[in-house]
């Protein structure tokens, strides 16, 4: 049924249709309305045969799911930001042991400084933790990806993070087609685990592995990701057949066929970028974009094929990796090596600063003069002033405080 609904509520409805058997979460992780809604559904009996376990931390939340998954249950949780960091050790354990847990990340920045707004620092901090990472452009895509995530996770025995931009999507009301239980049931078979704790047939999970075998176990983890590259498009096609809606698979091009310049981005900013592409196309400019849905595994071949016509590839990233920057651009550059294409990193949308059409227009105007990486909308006047002050005064104090004060003095971005 098509509904005007909050993103978090829509995701909760989709997860409910996937018939999870154990949901475990920490309620102030920071959280969205997703698990709150699911807990109410479990309590009311609307979500049957499901145990909702409220725990004392994110570490406990995922550890409980590791145990539940080992016992053969379909499992789900959600977290974001610092909550994901607190969960980190279990994040690696879940994937290393191959438990097909599905987890929503309501993407938010990581402190310090404290900031609860949207960017991709949290999920990017776990990009090498061995989970599949899928990023949603809209709440419809978030719903559809969750349903595909359970199927993918369980088919490979590999956990999947569905990354949904915090606030921008999780708190947005928009039209979403909520699938019926019958549709989801016909798409998602019941969980048939490849490993399960069974007193009749005792096995050992979490075995210690020495130098003689650790590398091989790790390689087989990587090999699952290689299989995920094949499996994700197959599942997307089957999703389309069952639900009658397009599923993007690994990545999706928009006006890419003849594009001379192609934008590459993850998540909700693709919507704004598509509007930008339309405006530029109306002026006869050959611009297109590639939405990366799967960031882990990284779909190098698909990116190569979608970016084929482009001379310039601009990667817009909501993540600033100090000391290197442009981690998405680095991987796109790797995918396009020897192609002669210019790959540009653009860091923006950090800590909730919106990536607006006006910002993209400004970027476009400067496209032949961009530094590598380019910092979209960074207030250089404030940066200069704070650095100047640090040079003058040894005890210049906390940087966050200096910047906030300087922004207040000089003006700059202010959210309405």
């Amino acid at each position: 049924m098509r509904k005007q609904i909050e993103g978090s509520q829509a995701i909760a409805a989709a997860v409910q249709c996937c018939r999870p058997e154990v949901i475990s979460c920490y309620p102030i992780t920071p959280q969205t309305h997703i698990v709150e809604t699911l807990s109410a559904k479990v309590k009311s009996g609307e979500l049957e045969n499901c145990e909702f376990i409220n725990v004392e931390s994110e570490f406990a939340a995922l550890s409980v799911l590791i145990g539940a998954s080992a016992a053969g249950a379909r499992t789900y949780t959600a977290t974001a930001s610092q909550g994901l960091l607190y969960m980190a050790e279990a994040v690696y354990n879940a994937s290393g042991m191959g438990f097909p847990i599905v987890m929503t990340i309501g993407n938010r920045a990581i402190g310090a400084p404290i900031n609860i707004w949207n960017d991709h620092s949290d999920s990017m901090s776990m990009r090498d933790a061995g989970w599949v990472q899928l990023y949603a452009e809209s709440n419809q895509e978030a719903v559809d990806l969750h349903i595909q995530a359970f199927r993918l996770a369980e088919s490979l025995s590999l956990p999947v993070m569905v990354c949904v931009d915090g606030f921008v999507l999780t708190h947005a009301f928009e039209p979403v087609e909520i699938p019926s239980q019958a549709q989801v049931d016909s798409f998602l078979p019941s969980f048939d685990p490849v490993q399960v704790l069974d007193p009749e047939n005792p096995i050992s999970m979490g075995t210690m592995v020495g130098p003689n075998a650790f590398f091989e176990v790790r390689y087989l983890h990587h090999e699952k990701h290689l299989r995920a590259l094949e499996r994700i498009p197959t599942i997307a096609r089957e999703f389309e057949k069952t639900f009658g809606r397009k599923a993007a698979g690994l990545a999706e091009g928009y006006f890419h066929e003849d594009a001379e310049t192609i934008f590459v981005a993850l998540g909700s900013m693709n919507g704004t970028i598509k509007d930008f592409v339309d405006l530029r196309r109306a002026r006869g400019e050959k611009v297109g974009c590639i939405k990366l849905v799967s960031y882990r595994p990284f779909p190098s071949e698909v990116v190569r094929s979608l970016a084929d016509s482009a001379q310039r590839v601009i990667c817009v990233e909501k993540h600033l990796a100090p000391g290197t920057c442009g981690v998405v651009a680095s991987e796109v550059r790797h995918a396009l090596q020897h192609s002669g294409k210019q790959v540009q990193a653009v860091i923006g949308g950090i800590g909730g600063r919106p990536i607006s059409l006006a910002a993209l227009d400004g970027l476009w105007a400067e496209r032949n003069r961009l530094d590598e990486p380019h910092f979209l909308g960074l207030n250089w006047e404030v940066i200069g002033s704070v650095l100047e002050n640090q040079k003058k005064i040894r005890r210049s104090g906390p940087v966050a405080e200096s910047v906030v004060k300087t922004v207040a003095e000089k003006g700059g971005f202010h959210g309405i």
Binding site: Q4, E6, I116, W117, N118, S138, D165, F167, V168, H171, A172, F173, E174, P175, S268, M269, N270, G271, T272, K274, D275, G352, P354, I355, S356, L357, A358, H414, G415, I416
Partner: protein
């Protein structure tokens, strides 16, 4: 695309109002997107919320910088927050106030100002100062594309029973007030 920006304080219902407007617009066959100014979920702190309405799918994810309608839930914000900033040409601003717009001391503004005593209506009907549904009723009086009945249906879908009906009555009263104000009673 038609864009509405709500300015209020945490607890007044600005976020709920934007969501209800999006539901009303959706029920009338439009595409709609509503979202809050993110993060400032504190009682009394200035908050903004947004609603876009269009006959096409809405992909844009930026805050509304060029609103066609501004709804001000708390008039004390008029002197603290750059409410009129970016307002589109021919924008209208509906302010929750018992004072007429000439008495608000705003001087020349780039937008057409209107007022509705939303808090007074809410106190009268609901017994509490919750001006959001009154402003939605007032909004329906200003735009042809959103009907009062769609607003009332959206209110009923969120608040069942007596609270829903009372809020519908609030919207009705504010609608009539603004209709009279614009000389369209």
């Amino acid at each position: 695309m038609f864009q509405v920006r709500f300015h209020g304080r945490g607890g007044q219902g600005a976020v709920t109002a934007a969501e209800l407007l999006s539901v009303a617009a959706f029920n009338e066959g439009n595409f709609a997107q509503a979202f809050p100014s993110f993060g400032s979920e504190r009682m009394g702190a200035p908050v903004a919320s947004f609603c876009r309405i269009s006959d096409k799918e809405i992909r844009l994810r930026e805050p509304i910088e060029h609103p066609d309608i501004l709804l001000v839930l708390d008039p004390t914000l008029l002197h603290h927050v750059p409410i009129f900033e970016g307002a589109s040409e021919n924008a209208q601003c509906l302010i929750n106030s018992t004072h007429s717009v000439n008495d608000l001391g705003l001087g020349q503004t780039p937008v057409r100002l209107l007022h509705v005593p939303a808090s007074a209506i809410a106190r009268d009907v609901l017994g509490v100062d919750r001006p959001n549904t009154a402003l939605l009723g007032g909004l329906a009086a200003l735009c042809e594309s959103i009907s009062l009945s769609a607003i009332q249906d959206a209110i009923r879908s969120r608040f069942t029973g007596e609270i829903g009906e009372k809020n519908c009555a609030v919207a009705q009263k504010a609608y009539a007030y603004v209709k009279a104000e614009v000389g369209d009673a």
